[in-house]
């Protein structure tokens, strides 16, 4: 919604900094803020992770429950991704049903994981047409200082990697780990004054007219993209962003998901 006056001033500040080749916190245009990943943080969840990217903090929990498959995929498990922008995380977040920002966040994360086929859903069938495992990926944003998508995707994949299938709880037997075949990583960039900035802060997101998330996989293929906000991007810039996104994803994967 409408930005406050203070934010207008800050937007100009960010813009002018970028024009001068700098960022608020002094990092390079293609540098991430410090990333911290901690898994197994929630005992009650089947898998969980807390991700910090700079001040941005996201908690992801994975829960599994037996449930009905979709009619068109009777022998496949189901992934349901949900994001909550709880009011404690930002003065802009309000209580209430999911708004378009939280819906978008959940759907972009979901698309990246689904598109990568990281989870073999056919292994999550309990009884064809009757019962399959439903994987709930819940993203809880604790502190929004920009770039929620990358933090949430990293948290979701890290959670899935350590997820245990709760067979016993439901009187079932079978494999107790998920078969994770890929490690998709999201890299979000914004364009400010013609420059591409990786891992935008909250202020940088507000100063940018447009942004792009590129989710890519171990083999360098792309499994999800989303352009943000009401600016337009040139074809060459998009190609450049895709290039950068794939490269950065490789670095993050090596450091945090192997």
């Amino acid at each position: 919604m409408g930005l406050e006056i203070m934010e207008d001033v800050r937007m100009d500040y960010v813009y002018n900094l970028v024009r001068g080749g700098k960022r608020e916190d002094g990092r390079g245009f293609l540098d991430y803020r410090e990333i911290k990943l901690e898994t197994g943080v929630i005992k009650r969840a089947e898998g969980s992770a807390r991700v910090k990217i700079g001040n941005t903090e996201v908690l992801v929990g994975v829960k599994l429950e037996p449930g009905e498959p979709f009619p068109d995929t009777p022998d496949k498990g189901v992934i349901i991704t949900n994001a909550e922008l709880v009011p404690l995380a930002s003065p802009e977040f309000e209580p209430g049903p999911p708004n378009e920002d939280s819906v978008q966040l959940a759907r972009v994360v979901d698309r990246g994981i689904r598109g990568s086929e990281a989870i073999d859903l056919s292994k999550l069938c309990i009884e064809e047409g009757e019962k399959v495992w439903i994987i709930f990926i819940d993203i809880h944003v604790l502190d929004n200082d920009g770039n929620l998508v990358d933090a949430a995707t990293l948290g979701a994949v890290a959670s899935l990697l350590e997820t245990r299938i709760p067979n016993e709880r439901y009187g079932l037997t079978g494999e107790d780990t998920l078969d994770i075949r890929d490690r998709p990583v999201a890299v979000t960039m914004v364009e400010i004054g013609g420059e591409i900035l990786v891992d935008p802060s909250y202020n940088e997101e507000n100063a940018a007219a447009s942004g792009l998330t590129v989710i890519s996989n171990e083999d360098g293929s792309i499994s999800g993209m989303q352009k943000y906000w009401s600016g337009s991007i040139e074809e060459d810039k998009i190609a450049e962003m895709v290039e950068i996104g794939i490269e950065k994803a490789g670095e993050i994967r090596r450091e945090f998901l192997e």
């Binding site: 919604m1 409408g2 009619p71 068109d72 995929t73 496949k76 999911p98 378009e100 819906v103 978008q104 959940a106 759907r107 698309r111 689904r114 598109g115 990568s116 086929e117 007219a209 792009l212 996989n217 360098g220 293929s221 792309i222 499994s223 999800g224 993209m225 989303q226 352009k227 943000y228 906000w229 009401s230 600016g231 337009s232 991007i233 040139e234 074809e235 998009i238 190609a239 895709v242 290039e243 794939i246």
Partner: protein, 238 residues
């Protein structure tokens, strides 16, 4: 999720006979609704979409007004009968997201600062769906906005590309979309050659993406000509 054994490409042609870079037939009618300030009916193959524009009009509630410019609202809505399995009426997560990215696809061209404190409402109804509805909706909305006399720098044109049976192809229909490997809708300002919406789901390589983007951008140029012709002809008949 590919159905077992379904072949989407045979002898270099797609199931509906199209080549890889071929659009489905497009039909555009301008000014189809009486009460709306601007409107457009858009057909893309078996997709039937209608867009209406109301406004600029006074915005309620007042606290949501922007003192400097108009607020653009966009509602993408699927009619319950538009899909094989009845769609439950009302907004779901998918339509919330599509509404958002469609609004953002159009905003770069609209001179919102001409009408402070007002709202411009774009309503897009999907009457019949066969994959590609969001792109058809953006095309229709863009024409309807012009028809409503909204000041704009350009039109916006939109299309999707995707990957089926390992090939990058233009404008997937529902069978292709359901059994394909990737889908990438884009919107663009043709005269400026800039992208205003881009989404991708499924999986493709960087090379396939680049090829797909080119294919989609070329198709947008063709769609733009059709949008323009429809608008020009509306007032040239007399």
């Amino acid at each position: 999720m590919k159905e077992d054994g379904i072949e989407l490409i045979k002898d270099g042609k797609r199931l509906d006979g199209r080549g890889f870079d071929e659009l489905r037939p497009i039909k555009i009618e301008v000014g189809v609704l009486k009460r709306a300030d601007g409107s457009c009916y858009f057909e893309l193959g078996d997709n039937k979409v209608i867009a209406a524009v109301y406004g600029p009009r006074e915005m309620h509630p007042r606290h949501a007004q922007d003192a400097k410019m108009a607020v653009l609202k966009y509602r993408y809505n699927m009619a319950p009968f538009s899909v094989e399995e009845r769609k439950r009426p009302g907004p779901d997560r998918r339509s919330v997201e599509i509404s958002k990215i469609s609004r953002e696809a159009l905003e770069p061209v609209i001179l919102k600062e001409y009408y402070p404190k007002t709202e411009i409402d774009v309503y897009v109804e999907i009457l019949q769906s066969d994959a590609g509805t969001r792109t058809a909706g953006i095309n229709a909305a863009s024409v309807a906005l012009a028809d409503a006399g909204i000041p704009m720098r350009d039109l916006v044109s939109s299309v999707a590309v995707g990957k089926i049976d390992g090939e990058v192809v233009l404008d997937l229909n529902a069978v292709e979309d359901n059994n394909g490997e990737a889908d990438m809708p884009i919107a663009m300002i043709v005269r400026r050659n800039t992208i205003t919406a881009l989404q991708m789901d499924g999986r493709m390589t960087k090379e396939e993406f680049e090829k797909g983007l080119k294919l989609a951008m070329n198709a947008c140029r063709r769609i733009y000509e059709l949008q323009r012709t429809a608008l020009i002809e509306r007032y040239s008949e007399m």
